[in-house]
């Protein structure tokens, strides 16, 4: 479900836009490092695949059906960087071409549906694959759990964004419960489909499953007759990928921790700010407030007393600040780490 315009207030949308832009910038670099000049066609085709597979209906029961969101699938099949890029491009095109998701909400949509699902799914997947025995069923099981967790995680993050920048004072606690509950259910479907699809790919082309690289035995080179060695046609990107994805995971983890910290701070510092709203202040207070405020920021926390407004605003500002710091932090960490290693593979088609 794509967030429309006006659902999240302007400042928080802008911050989400900055976060999304940062994540896409990092992913562009990462994807280019992994795929080199093949990035554009490969990521483009995978984006088209994600787009198509979202139209594939999976019947649930009597007339109802669900479809794949695709973040977890993209993360596992093509890796976190390319995954974020593909889902972001799908969202961008849906916003511009189909008016599906507001233009000002694009940042929120990309942050939640592209970045959170992909990062969570990939982190969980890699973690599990490392822990579980190196067998094919482990890959499928890891894909299941990764996809299962990625959907409610996205729902939770969306609720948090809503808590900071939502335009209506619905009770956040119950919204969180409802959102996570419903999306865990959706996540079950997502998980089953993702796991089955990953299983289907790994049965035919295990080399194409990014997340399962390193599980397949290294290929043996056999050279016939007196002929010289065939040159290694595609340098193994595994080492680079493993290293960069570890950084990516760490960075993602850092961001999540920061976000979680901020949000819990917000939740604990201001529980009554939300509840107090229920007390007495109605439309009059709102009008007064409104007269006093003359910035778009006033849309946020507009409903309450001065003190609840203050605390809410403060929390919002802190959240916003920390998010920016975290976003730029990731960006810098990744950029500084860039060693400029350049692998320029003469790519080889797999099939003769």
């Amino acid at each position: 479900m794509h967030v429309p315009d006006g659902f999240i207030n302007a400042p928080v949308s802008a911050v989400a836009g900055v976060v999304a832009a940062g994540a896409v910038a990092v992913s562009l670099r990462g994807a280019r490092r992994e795929l080199d000049e093949r990035t554009a066609p490969l990521a483009g085709l995978v984006a088209a695949f994600i787009f198509a597979v979202q139209m594939l209906n999976f019947p649930v029961a009597a007339g109802t059906s669900g479809h794949l969101l695709g973040g977890a699938l993209a993360a596992i099949l093509v890796g976190p960087y390319t995954g974020v890029l593909c889902v972001s491009v799908v969202l961008l095109m849906q916003g511009i071409l189909f008016a599906d998701g507001g233009l000002t909400a694009l940042g929120v949509n990309i942050s939640v549906m592209a970045v959170v699902t992909v990062v969570v799914a990939y982190a969980v997947f890699r973690g599990l694959v490392k822990v579980l025995p190196k067998k094919r069923p482990s890959v499928t099981a890891s894909a299941f759990i990764a996809a299962l967790l990625s959907v409610p995680a996205a729902a939770a993050v969306f609720t948090l964004v809503y808590a900071v920048g939502g335009t209506t004072d619905v009770p956040i606690g119950s919204v969180l419960t409802a959102m996570v509950g419903v999306h865990t259910l959706i996540g079950m479907g997502e998980a089953a489909i993702t796991a089955l699809t990953v299983g289907a790919v790994i049965a035919v082309r295990p080399d194409l499953v990014y997340g399962a690289r390193g599980l397949t035995a290294p290929l043996k080179l056999r050279v016939n007759g007196e002929l010289v060695d065939a040159p290694a046609a595609r340098p193994e990107p595994v080492a680079v990928a493993a290293r960069s994805s570890r950084k990516f995971l760490l960075a993602g983890l850092g961001v999540s921790l920061l976000l979680a910290g901020v949000v819990s701070f917000y939740a604990s510092a201001d529980p009554d700010g939300l509840e107090k709203v229920a007390a007495d202040k109605g439309i009059d207070a709102k009008a007064e407030d409104h007269a006093a405020a003359d910035s778009p920021l006033a849309d946020y926390g507009v409903e309450g007393l001065t003190n609840s407004r203050l605390s809410g605003g403060l929390a919002g500002v802190i959240g916003v600040g920390v998010t920016i710091v975290a976003g730029t932090g990731v960006f810098w960490a990744v950029r500084k780490r860039r060693t400029g290693e350049d692998c320029s593979p003469t790519s080889v088609p797999e099939n003769v």
Binding site: L221, R222, L227, D229, A230, V348
Partner: protein
Amino acid sequence: MDFAAPSLEVAGLAFAYPDGHQALFGVDFSIGRGERVALLGPNGAGKTTLVLHLNGILTAGAGTVTVAGLPVGKRHMAEIRRKVGIVFQDPDDQLFMPTVREDVAFGPAAAGVKGAELEARVDRALEQVGMAGFKERPPHHLSFGQRRRVAVATVLAMEPEILVLDEPSSNLDPASRRELADILRSLDVTVLMVTHDLPYALELCPRSLILSEGVIAADGATGALLGDDELMRAHRLELPFGFDPRSVDPRSVDPRSVRAVER
């Protein structure tokens, strides 16, 4: 540029894939300027592997490829790719730009051609394949035969030394097939046509090479090769039912065949 050099010269070319599967075991042949040659062979003979060596997408473990006197290698890669125009089997792979015009312009634009000259090249290439009226159309909205013709135009716009076609007649209905044959015959360019469509090879190419198990098993006039039952059987090449190459006079098809037959 060395005008005396043949368009394409392949010597001792051998190649194994990283998984150890060896596809080419020492391929030798040479194609003169302006010739039209068919490369015949059963599935898995290494035809596509050979094609990918011609413009340096694959680089050989052993042997050399020379295009108009220029060795294929890292040093001249940009020029080699301009000189060798490969038309791939699936036109959807070849036509990756949003409109026909941009697709045809892609090659020359990548080589630095701009402005009016770029437009002129696009127009000329589309004219040559009879698709001049389709410039602004998206490739997806063309018929398969039209897409194949535009795919040829994308390569012609680069003004290549040699045109390499991978299974040009596949999936074409008889009319499109004939139209493409007319176009190919009208072009003044060296052609290497990879195919197992034997009648098409006979119709268009005076000379043929048979690639089998990674080596050139035969090289000669197309009519003579197709008429050699034993040779054909040995390399899993079969003529369509009822087709007799001896009944077709190649000279009636192509006046240039005389030269090739005399080789």
